[in-house]
Amino acid sequence: MRITDVSSKTIASGWCRVELLTDEGLHGCAPIQPQHSAAAESLARDLLVGQDPRAVSTLWDRLSAAARHHHLAPQSRASLDLACWDLKSQAHDEPLWKTLGGARPNVMAYASLRRLPGGDDAIGELRTMVQAGGFRWACLPLAGNLRDDSAKLMQSRKILASRRGRVELLVDARGMWPGEAIRLLQALEREFDIACVRNVGANGDVLGNARVADSVKAAVCAGGDLGSEADFQPWLHHGAANIIELDLLRLGVTGAQRVAEAAFGFERAVLLRAAPGNLQVHLAAVLPNCMATEAVAMDRQANAIGGDVSFADGRAQAGIRPGLGLHFAEPANSPASEGKK
């Protein structure tokens, strides 16, 4: 099987779909943000056309080297890796989790609120998610105000406790500088048992995160904004992240699996950041150290890119559709009335 061409197309909700065509008639598709699609197309024309997409490991290294050389954002080559895996799995007529060597994933999931808990909307969103997906874990963004954050955590804990099973609270520090995060978390920890804090400090603040990890009871989670395997070395070496977060839109399947296995060696659990169609759930099947996957509220993005993953009883389960199992909606003004894979 050889890749013959690449194209990208804007779909609904401001996302693009990058598509690899092959000489065997298979199409490998992956989501990509519009600002990265031109770079992805260029990379694919230079490095993927003429290649066998099943060589995912080798191709990832070639793409990564070129992306580094040309200072391209990691998202450009990650989407191509996803599309190659889509082809590899389709060629075997099986879902990605099986191609990776996994059994059907049924992994813990947490409801992730991406809005500030300043109003009732956020809590309403959590209530809706819990009712629909049975979540017992949730991640709330911190406002930085002890009174408001305490109130929202209290409300969230109450909502989550409506389901059977152990409740876990995660918080998102939203880039709060380490000193501020330590003060706020230590205060919150007098009242709440917080499992994990994400997004402390500026992107890349290894020492700041290490300081937080040494100062609070919650596990510090980092890595979601890192885009290459080597980026994770200082986080592992300095004990700056108790939990590693992986974003498949930056690392692809190949890079994310490599980092997850390095984290496994370092006895670190991983959290998987939500990607369109919840495609990250496939990878969970082969990660011995997967703690949970993020679940975000159904929104316009989810409607534009559907996946083969369902949430029930606080867990995510992937389906059996071949490949990534994604379904891309056409733009509203497209002549096609049906979605296209």
């Binding site: 290294d61 060597g101 059994a103 699996q257 060696g265 006895e267």
Partner: protein, 393 residues
């Protein structure tokens, strides 16, 4: 698609030449062999070679009736199961053996070579020569490495340890033999944990006055991260280790404590799945890995898909009497075939013949650590080695 059964065969093989390190200078030419066959309801059988079959019976219930294509999940299931018993020794050998046979099945079902299943673009892996040569005369040493160099191999690893002057002479012989493949052959040494860390520093530095040594293997005990790091910091050569550990868990303290520069990975590191985990750990840490030798070089399938693999050990002592395979070495690379799976078949007739008439020879594997290891050198005794020692024997 389900796993339905298993069987295994054990046998003895007589090598084409003896092999040795400084712990057993006189060497041996008999090795135990084994083949694990994992059977499925669709008639596809996976094999693995060389170790660990004795423990399979205790683990088989974990995979019976399962889909062999879910090999990584099955690895996780077994790994979790054995954590109380300890993932070492027989348990780890069985896990390794099962995992490799499962990967063989997975690739066979896809009708593709395993290197492709694992994501490599080609079944081609850089090789280096390793004579396991402590028992070879100087002439035999030259002949071995020259034969390797004629196949384009430009790196060699010499067994050292008991006689530094002789080691240096033999390093020169190895270099000369390899010089037809490269003007600057890659030279490596392996003292197989015979030296203490400080002995390693003394002896390696002495060698480095005359030779550019790429790596020194096992210059301290496998778990001695402080000793390995000390050697790494005090010699120019990289420190390689890992051959005798079990899994990624054993590599963690070595990597985290900057005690290893090159990770030796092997089939016995809880299989291809475990081996890949270790390589990925090293990769994220900016460290290279080197695959240990294997019958018919079958672990080259895994090596081909690793981002940080620098060269696989080729020993070539003649361990393939009952195997049919199509891989070969050319221009310094192991070339794997496009046959499905590992690309290896067992010649059942030859296997049965080996079992019916076990060969005889010298030595027994595994063998003990030599007296003095880590404390003092016990030089080769008269008749122990077929080469001239500094004492004149």
């Amino acid at each position: 698609m389900k796993i339905t059964g298993y069987r295994y065969e054990t046998y003895l093989m007589k090598l084409d030449r003896p092999i040795a390190d400084c712990n057993l200078p006189e060497g041996l030419d008999l090795l135990p062999g084994s083949v694990l066959y994992l059977e499925t309801d669709e008639g596809v059988t996976g094999i693995s070679l060389g170790f660990g079959v004795e423990g399979v019976a205790a683990l088989f219930h974990l995979i019976e009736g399962e889909d062999p294509r879910e090999v990584v999940s099955l690895w996780m299931k077994i790994n979790d199961y054995i954590h109380k018993l300890g993932n070492e020794g027989t348990a780890n050998g069985a896990l390794s053996s099962i995992d490799i046979a499962l990967w063989d099945i997975k690739a066979k079902l896809e009708e593709e070579p395993l290197w492709r299943t694992l994501g490599a673009a080609e079944g081609r892996v850089k090789a280096y020569a390793s004579g396991l040569d402590y028992c070879l005369s100087d002439e035999e040493l030259f002949a071995f490495y020259r034969r390797m160099a004629e196949r384009g191999i430009d790196g060699g690893k010499l067994k050292v340890g008991l006689d530094i002057e002789a080691d240096m002479r033999r390093l020169g012989i190895m270099r000369d033999a390899l010089s037809i493949a490269s003007e600057n052959p890659v030279l490596m040494i392996d003292s197989n944990e015979y030296w203490s860390p400080k002995q390693s520093v003394r002896f390696i530095r002495q060698m480095e006055e005359h030779y550019d040594i790429a790596w020194a293997e096992e210059p301290a005990r496998r778990w001695d991260y402080a000793g390995l790091r000390l050697v790494s910091q005090q010699v120019k050569a990289a420190v390689a280790t890992g051959e005798n550990v079990n899994s990624i868990a054993d590599f963690y303290p070595l990597v985290a404590n900057q005690a290893v520069d090159v990770l030796n990975v092997a089939a016995g590191h809880s299989g291809i799945t475990g081996c890949r985990q270790i390589a990925h750990l090293a990769h994220c840490y900016g460290l290279p890995v080197s695959m240990m030798n294997a019958q018919a070089e079958f672990m080259a399938h895994a090596a081909a898909a690793l981002p940080n693999h620098i060269g696989m050990e080729v020993v070539d002592p003649g361990r393939e009497q009952c195997l049919k395979f199509a891989s070969y070495i050319e221009d310094g690379y192991i070339i794997l075939s496009n046959k499905p799976g590992l690309g290896i078949e067992v010649d059942e007739e030859k296997l049965a013949a080996l079992q019916a008439n076990p060969p005889t020879g010298r030595g027994q594997f595994p063998f003990a650590r030599r007296e003095g290891a880590g404390r003092y050198i016990v030089p080769p005794q008269p008749g122990e080695v077929p080469w001239e020692t500094s004492a004149g024997s």
